[in-house]
Symmetry: C2
Subunit: 335 residues, 2 copies
Amino acid sequence: MSEMLKIHPPYLLFVGDVDDEVVAKTGFGIAEWRRDDCVGQMRLPGCGVDLGLPDVTLEEAVKAGARTLIVGVAPAGGALPVSWIAALLAALEAGLDIASGLHTRIAAIPNLRQTADELGRKIIDVRQSTRTFPVGTGLKRPGKRLLTVGTDSAVGKKYTALSIHAALRRRGLPATFRATGQTGILIGGGGIAVDAVIADFISGAAETLSPAAAAEHWDVIEGQGCLLHPAYAGVSLGLLFGSQPDVFVVCHEPTRRALASFTQPVPAIHDIIELTIRMGRQTNPKIRCIGASINTAKLEIARARDLLSEFEHQLGVPCTDPIRFGVDTILDALP
Amino acid sequence: MSEMLKIHPPYLLFVGDVDDEVVAKTGFGIAEWRRDDCVGQMRLPGCGVDLGLPDVTLEEAVKAGARTLIVGVAPAGGALPVSWIAALLAALEAGLDIASGLHTRIAAIPNLRQTADELGRKIIDVRQSTRTFPVGTGLKRPGKRLLTVGTDSAVGKKYTALSIHAALRRRGLPATFRATGQTGILIGGGGIAVDAVIADFISGAAETLSPAAAAEHWDVIEGQGCLLHPAYAGVSLGLLFGSQPDVFVVCHEPTRRALASFTQPVPAIHDIIELTIRMGRQTNPKIRCIGASINTAKLEIARARDLLSEFEHQLGVPCTDPIRFGVDTILDALP
């Protein structure tokens, strides 16, 4: 198997027959970040969600150059409805690979697996890790690296990394987005789901994800979890050590009091900055914080501006909300 | 599958035909720590290692009550020699389960698997994790917990935990040894290889390993890796958070300059103590260090005593070498 998951564009986004936008968030993410690589969406009868892409048939998708159907939604209850399986089977027969971020393993469905094998198509379950990685070395690699870290899960680490990557490219700088979770992988077209790796190899997987590169090249690495998270801190620390970032951006949701789906309080943003520097020095002595990404979606814009000013004053680094105000101030702080 | 690996004593220790004591260290560990549960050793022609147990045939072992044959050695090159497979097959037929800490999966060898299935025997590959665990909660559980942590891998965390567990039992205190690595599992007869768990579930596995217990009961948990290890820190942190120890003992090898098999320097013992307290507070605010276990095997005894005094002066906690001086001073410091 290849070193890293590779999902070939252009994509056809499969939405099934879901009617809840929340369960289609992967599809929306791909439609937002990879619009030019999406030939359209494929919806089954009864579907109540619209990704804002043209509806196409399998034949039209293939004619438009599509190479991979992406399952960008989760079925209610987890099990794949029969109508979805039939649609996916037809996609394989029409010439498409399938990529999925579902917990349910698509490649384990016998007739899909068998058809894919017979036709030479790939089925990529990005949440599944059947690959082995080397143990991490901690040795410094050439190239520059930026990691997004956070005070919790689901605070904008993926969105911030994608925003910074896009802004770097707009400025003409060499940069690669390195995805570490299933949605990021489907958006980025590759990556490693580090939380699905065997624990002994988290750092090794992070080193594999972000290999030696040209001195001026930026790897922009999607962070996971939080260094003080009771469940996910091990993943966060292994990813930090393996990524050996030169700089990091800390992501925070200021209205959240308890960790998402947990009862513990959200750590203070300055504690996460200080701890990330202290631990991160172990594999990159020059690590430093170059900004904070504050998710102000729940605040009025005037309050959001005030809060960003307060954080800038407190933390001494540029603070922004990428969705509202972009990431230029953070890019200006890059070494 | 059961929540936790269970290996039923009494044991027959299989040594194969190895002639290197280093590759038989698991066998030596079991012979040392579980002597009363070992009915004997089984050696093949050409074997140059002696665990100090009586040589017995399969029939004698079964007659003596043996329930599990333990593969306590690693074959050269990793692959299982044909003569070993024949011996293991005969063991299944004689009525024994098989437990193994090898990288090679015994249960994947077709005729062993098939014979075990037909006869209703168990084959337990302790390094393999096919089990799923819940995500960690970080919620405090009743019972007392001691975790051994370290400045590196292979500094005595398992030996220290076993020594403390044995000493607690000698004092008549309720205590359970909780193994987290393959040798510890084979010695302890159960446990979870936390480094073989999917990364997202390290803390959850540690919580499963050490469930709620009576208020005065001690779980003595075998630590793994080191919080500042470039490859294994994620496992160490997840284990710390999931174990939520009330107290910890830090293990250190004072003559080691670089991390074992790595080029990075060994962290300072006081840094590991301070960092363990800082991070560990996240799931147990009362965490404290109650001692240091210093491996002085490479030092003259007079130098060892001086060094332990120096560490006690520096760290302010009892410092001992469990092999040379026992762990009574540490036990006296328990809450």
